[in-house]
Symmetry: C2
Subunit: 478 residues, 2 copies
């Protein structure tokens, strides 16, 4: 999960017909009437029985766990454009065939490659202490042997924006901004701007490098990776994230006087590295040209195992589709699985998919890319006349403990290109309260996934996929 | 905190006059009588007022926090025998003088030095994945360039003990034993045996290296350092600890078939490295030759900051002694602070202190070396006639939420030599429920200390120190 900040910005401009009304205090003399139920598209008794069957099966199935365990154990971290990502594609093709999907294929493309071969930072004065650090994606190398400079700290990005060249020239900028823990990930949108904007702002004022307090919510000694390349095109300043304890240490050192830091980044930067999307389908029995697109991304950052980001998403959508595949009759519409490549370093797979498949009839699209927490909310981004269908999904999902959300869904990074083309999207919003504890760190490991929450996700996705593909509902303005 | 296992073994042989009786169910017809209060040595009204004043002052003081923050920021990790440990001694001398103690001095000694210059482990087949690893203290280097071998897993140490040479020859042994979370640290005593015993057992059966699941209770991607050298004298097998997620990964890989691991350890092993104890005193006003010894250790492992192990202990005992130092009258007896060197790699400082100061009159000794959790229990190790004094301490500590414990105190690693000489010891037992989440990892950082719990520790230690030094109580058999 990478470009949440962009997505949140997009939300600010989204048309929003909120299903959650602000309550007003009734006069005590008024007899309360229950509010009229919003119009909800009916589903047939047979479909209702199928939904119940799918949910029961999902809540008893360990298929999603098996998929993510296999991905972690047999492939592990899979940096965009790397040999490991290529192995992940081969793994995915074999797995999707084994799960009896059709049209399983790789759609290759190339990307700009970036990897950190070496990333080290230490305070060298007043006393020598090494820090836990991760180079930010796209960061150039430091001069051979590293660079050393005094550090100037800013409590947040706004303080850096207000700084002068006199404060920054020849120095390493350190942005010490913290991130707020939230259920829906909105704290990330607020905090992540420093990751992309530090380098261009600092470079324009004559600084020599950027350090940021890791964008994360945990108190542990992990640096959080993350891209800075896409936003910082043309920027030549090395940039890295340090762990929260090291940010504390640097700040406390600076309270006592000047602090000098040494930073070493050796980056492997190449053009035209191989990546690719992996695609699989359940062919629609009546309207095969109508596509319900479900996405997750196959690549990961490489400090951790890529278990929650986004092995979990791969497992959830695949296991859900498999349950639908196993129904006595295939649904009317085609269900297409997109396991996107190279999401983390620039949403290349999603963009490529949107370009290549722009002419097809995508009915709706959604992505699972926010870890493995329970789904707590279903949001749509439908044309106004289609809102009764959103309510039908919500009613079917309610037994899983899922609340109705508004009509300002984001859809996910890899469906962004489709959304921009006007394809309706939905969010099966996951509880991300602890997602940014692990996100893009070495601590993104299999044990962070709760098997029960994973099953609930599969149940929710199976419900959504089935109803979207079995009905003739359309979600666009007609 | 290193040799808890040894201490716990010692406890099994300790004479125990438990203050905590097993309750028996009374007959419903019996009228319950409150139990008679055990005999408790009285303290004077003046002493009672002083105790209350000390406790109030401690609970409002940030001195301990300032001390540990200074140690972390100005020195940081301080491996036994290293230049950083030497800087820590200089720091401690300056700090203890600033806190107005007397006889501040360094008592130097030399130790066998061990450091890991390089420690790497990865699964290389069936697929390549790097693991988070820490070489165990005292481990020899692998052959230059590392070693590679198939792995054989044992669920616990007992399973390794039962293994044959045919199973082990030419292989890397992997002990996957887990540790139980407990308040008093007893889970450590049970789990840590694998750390010292893996190498000798595996070597005797022809294995080429040892890997152990880290001795710890956390679910995070940290390897826990720890000594194996002292117990494993003469053993030449490289040994390392891997993080819990990597132990899971290795176990899951082995469930699928053979797994091959590559291990690289480059150790710096030297004789006669400089270490030393730092000592400071509050000279007794009437009986200066009678010594109340309070200890903590100055060295640390070097992945983390040594904040909870044992910066917290250094801060707690120093701040507590400073409060006593600030009383209108110095206590009758001498209070001596021992900041021991080189505890982690063999309790060298404590042993040296016991050797050099064996002839002195130590009234009682205690160490703070179990993190910064609240003190929840006061235990003694006194001769039977002195138990009323233990109860007097316990009564004075009760307002701080501290329970009476038994008479089987351990006293701590660095007071072990004194204890063996017959010096009475006490434990201000800390709640260590989360201590082994951080112990000997990169995550032992300042933010893991709760300032409020730290103050409560200072209040407890000030109470103990004052009463022990102001009264003429003796705790030995006469």
């Amino acid at each position: 999960m990478r470009n949440f900040a962009l997505a949140l910005t997009a939300l600010a401009f989204a048309s929003s017909a909120s299903a959650q009304q602000t309550p007003t205090s009734p006069s005590p003399n008024v007899i309360l009437q229950p509010p009229a139920a919003p119009p909800t598209a009916p589903i047939s008794a047979e479909q209702q029985r199928t939904v119940e069957r799918l949910q029961r099966a999902a809540l008893e199935s360990d298929l999603a766990w098996q998929i993510v365990e296999d991905l972690v154990v047999e492939v592990g971290p899979r940096l965009a454009g790397s040999e490991a990502e290529a192995r992940a594609r081969d793994w995915a093709v074999a797995m999707l065939r084994e799960q009896r999907f059709t049209n399983v294929r790789i759609e290759p493309f190339t990307i700009p490659y970036w990897d950190a071969l070496r990333e080290e930072a230490s305070i060298i004065a007043p006393s020598r202490q090494s820090m836990v650090v991760a180079a930010l994606g796209g960061s150039p190398s430091t001069p051979a042997g590293g660079l050393e400079a005094d550090v100037v700290r800013f409590s947040d990005l706004a303080a850096l924006e207000a700084a002068t060249e006199a404060q920054l020239r020849g120095r390493i900028v350190f942005i010490d901004e913290r991130m707020l823990r939230t259920q829906d990930g909105s704290g990330y949108g607020a905090a992540v701007a420093k990751r992309s904007r530090c380098a261009p702002l600092a470079q324009a004022r004559g600084a020599v490098a950027c350090l940021v307090r890791s964008v994360g919510t945990d108190p542990h000694r992990f640096a959080h990776q993350g891209g800075s390349s896409r936003q910082a095109a043309g920027v030549s300043l090395p940039a890295a994230a340090i762990s929260p304890a090291d940010a504390d240490l640097l700040a406390l050192t600076l309270e006592r006087g000047p602090a000098r830091v040494r930073l070493v980044i050796e980056a492997d930067i190449r053009d035209n590295a191989p990546s690719g999307n992996v695609i699989a389908e359940i062919r629609g029995r009546e309207r095969p040209e109508e596509i319900v697109l479900i996405a997750a991304h196959l690549d990961s950052w490489d400090l951790g195992q890529g278990a929650i980001d986004d092995g979990a998403g791969v497992a959830i959508i695949t296991a859900a589709a498999r349950l639908v595949r196993d129904l006595p009759r295939r649904p009317r519409r085609t269900i297409r699985i997109l396991l996107a490549g190279a999401e983390e370093n620039g949403v290349h797979g999603g963009d490529e998919y949107g370009r290549v498949h722009a002419g097809e009839n995508h009915i709706v699209a959604a992505e699972s890319d926010f870890g493995a927490g329970r789904v707590y909310r279903f949001r749509s981004r439908f044309a106004e006349p289609a809102l009764p269908y959103a309510r039908a999904f919500q009613r079917a999902l309610a037994p899983l403990g899922i609340l109705p959300g508004d009509n300002a869904a984001n859809g996910g990074a890899d469906t962004g290109a489709l959304r921009q083309q006007g394809v309706p999207v939905v969010d099966l919003s996951q509880d991300g309260s602890d997602y940014f504890d692990y996100h893009h760190t070495a601590d993104d490991t299999l044990d962070k996934i709760d098997p029960e929450a994973l099953r609930q996700n599969v149940a929710a996705w199976a419900t959504f996929i089935y109803l979207a593909a079995e009905n003739d509902w359309t979600f666009r303005a007609t």
